[in-house]
Symmetry: C2
Subunit: 128 residues, 2 copies
Amino acid sequence: MTSEEKAPRPLGDLERVVMEQLWAAPDALTVRRVYEQVSTTRDLAYTTVMTVLDRLQKKNLTERERDGKAWRYRAAAPREEMAADLMRDALDRAGDRREALVRFVDQVSDEEAALLREALAKLEEREG
Amino acid sequence: MTSEEKAPRPLGDLERVVMEQLWAAPDALTVRRVYEQVSTTRDLAYTTVMTVLDRLQKKNLTERERDGKAWRYRAAAPREEMAADLMRDALDRAGDRREALVRFVDQVSDEEAALLREALAKLEEREG
DNA sequence: CGCATCTACGACGTTACGTAGTAGATGCTA
DNA sequence: TAGCATCTACTACGTAACGTCGTAGATGCG
């Protein structure tokens, strides 16, 4: 517990753009599909997108399956899960968790505080 | 608001070690002091520590003041504040905040959930 | 069979960071 | 006040991650 894991580097810009495509899609996407989508915003080579997808795969941020000779990629976890993981990670690096949590709730908006209470209530309900 | 800030890269290993010295100290430390402390664990050159401190300064993670010809460094914010900031940042990158918060509280320990409730209660008390 | 398409893999530039050396400024001390 | 110790400023180099792309070879389809 409270292990000394290495901090997951935040995604690079292009990596983020690509992940967003995957998160937005209901199904697994081919490289070409991602390439087409990303192309509407950035002028990139097909292989660039392929490389990025490949690196995301190596980082276990995606899963992929064969579709003929092509790969279809999907996000390994929903965006919100990744966000939650990063929050966890940040909390793990705090010295005093209580203090960190206090400071955290101190800086969230009222709306977010409400969502947090809601989430905690749901948790209590579920776990007793 | 909800701007598209750049994700703060997590600290490098040595940067973290150095920040920990600063966080642990009640007052601002000279490079030499940090060097001495860090030296008990790692075999580094004095200038290496200086460089790291300098880079942390450029990233606004420290503040410094003159003391003769030397600089004295202190952490710009407590460790818990940085943790809270990283949590905020992670939350900002989530698509659906509600979902992200649900997933977050889902993975915290019972103890942490209790601390969170406590922090929220304190907040309510203070802000009504 | 041949063309279009896909992957595999290597490559190069940039930036962050770990690491350190040198030169020159500066302050204390005999 | 001359000189030594110490500090900063600046430069530099290696590595790793990432943005970016090209080439070569495998593969599926008409």
